[in-house]
Amino acid sequence: MKKRSADDWVDDCYLEVRARILQIAADLDRIDRAGVPTGSAAQRRQQLEKSLTILLSDDPDRAAAIQHLFSRDYQSDWRENYGLRDSSTVNERAQV
C-alpha cells in the first residue's frame, strides 16, 4: 500500500470533518438555547466539553482517550467484591 501523506488525509477528510464539527456546534447551540442542564444531564454536558479538549490536545491516541473519558473505571478487586472464583471451580461451588 502506498503510504498516504498528511496532506492526502486532510484533503480526503476535510469536508466530512467540517460537516461533523458544524453538527457538534449546532448540537451545543441547541442545548444552550434550551437553558442550563441539571443533574445527570449537567454531568453529561460537562463530559462532552471535556471530550472537546481532548480533540484539541496533542494526544496521539485521541480516540482511545475519548473512549476512556466516557467509560467506567475498572476495579481490579471486582472478584473479591463479588465473591467469585474462576470457572474451573464452578462444579466445586455447585457441590458445596
Partner: protein, 271 residues
C-alpha cells in the same frame, strides 16, 4: 470479494437481506444466540430458539448459497435470571453436536453485575467441558472498558482456556490492544452510533495489523446494517490496501478461527 460475516443475527432480518448479502459476496455467516428484545420466560423458549438457529436459519441461508453457522448460550441480559440461565446451560448440550454449531456464544457481560459474571463462568465451564470454541459479547458504551477487563480476567483465570479458541467481539480503540496482546481473537463490530464505523475499523487494522482480527455487522433487530462488512472492504480499497490484506480480515481470519471447531465446512470459492 468473498467475505464471511462472523456475527450477524439473521433471525431478526428479512429474507431480502440474505439475497443482498449473497450478491455482495457473502459466502458464510455465523449467528450467535442473543437477546430477542424481551426476556424469555422458560427454557422451552430457548429450546425453540436453538431449533430456529440450527435448522431454520441454516435452511433459509442455504437458499442463497450462504453457509449458516451458529453459537448457543443464554445472553448476558437474561443472565440476571440465574435459575433460568442454569436450566438453559443444562439444556445446551442437546444441540452441540448439530451441524453448524461452532461453540458457545455470545456470552459476556452487559451491566457487569455479579449474576452476569456467575452465569459467564458457568458458560465458560460448559465450553471447557465440551471442548467448544467461545464467542464473547463485550458490553456497550460506558460499561465496555470495565466489562471487557472483567471478561479477560475470567478467561485468563481459567487454565483450561486457550486464548486462540476465543473471539472477543465488539472491540473498540480502548479495548482492542489488551484483547490481542493476551492472545485472543478480536472482532470489530460495524454498527451505527454505539460501536464502530468502517473508517475507525480501518484505522484499527492499520494500527494493530490484521492478525487475529475480524469484522462483523452484528446486524439485528436494531438500527443496523447487515451489509456493513462490504462497507469496510470499500473503505480499505479506497485507502489503497491490497486485496490480500483486506481478504485476510473479512474472509481468511474468520475461516481460520471457525475451522478450529472442526465443523466449519465452507469451501474456498475458485480454489
Amino acid at each position: 470479494m468473498d467475505f464471511i460475516d462472523p456475527h450477524i443475527h439473521m433471525v431478526s432480518r428479512v429474507t431480502d437481506d440474505y439475497a443482498t448479502l449473497a450478491r455482495m459476496g457473502c459466502v458464510a455467516m455465523s449467528e450467535p444466540a442473543f437477546w430477542a428484545g424481551f426476556d424469555r420466560g422458560s427454557v422451552d423458549g430457548f429450546r425453540d430458539y436453538f431449533e430456529q438457529l440450527t435448522v431454520v436459519e441454516r435452511s433459509r441461508a442455504a437458499q442463497f448459497g450462504i453457509d449458516h453457522y451458529c453459537w448457543l448460550c443464554i445472553n448476558a441480559k437474561e443472565a440476571e435470571n440465574v435459575s433460568l440461565s442454569r436450566d438453559v446451560i443444562a439444556m445446551i448440550p442437546e444441540f452441540l453436536d448439530r451441524p453448524g454449531v461452532l461453540g458457545i456464544g455470545e456470552i459476556g457481560l452487559n451491566k457487569n453485575t455479579k449474576n452476569e459474571a456467575t452465569v459467564f463462568l458457568e458458560h465458560l465451564d460448559l465450553a471447557m467441558q465440551h471442548d467448544q470454541l467461545i464467542l464473547i459479547h463485550t458490553p456497550h458504551l460506558e460499561d465496555k472498558y470495565q466489562g471487557t477487563r472483567m471478561i479477560l480476567d475470567m478467561l485468563c483465570d481459567d487454565p483450561r482456556v486457550q486464548p486462540d479458541r476465543v473471539l472477543v467481539d465488539h472491540v473498540e480503540e480502548h479495548t482492542i490492544g489488551e484483547v490481542l496482546d493476551r492472545g485472543f481473537w478480536a472482532g470489530m463490530t460495524l454498527y451505527p452510533v454505539t460501536k464502530c464505523t468502517p473508517a475507525r475499523a480501518a484505522d484499527m487494522i492499520e494500527r494493530y495489523g490484521n492478525e487475529r482480527l475480524c469484522a462483523n455487522s452484528a446486524g439485528d433487530w436494531g438500527v443496523s446494517k447487515p451489509t456493513a462488512v462490504p462497507d469496510l472492504i470499500f473503505e480499505m480499497r479506497r485507502r489503497g490496501h491490497d486485496e490480500a490484506m483486506i481478504r485476510r480480515v473479512v474472509h481468511d481470519n474468520p475461516r481460520s478461527f471457525f475451522a478450529k471447531s472442526g465443523k466449519f465446512k465452507t469451501a474456498v470459492r475458485g480454489a
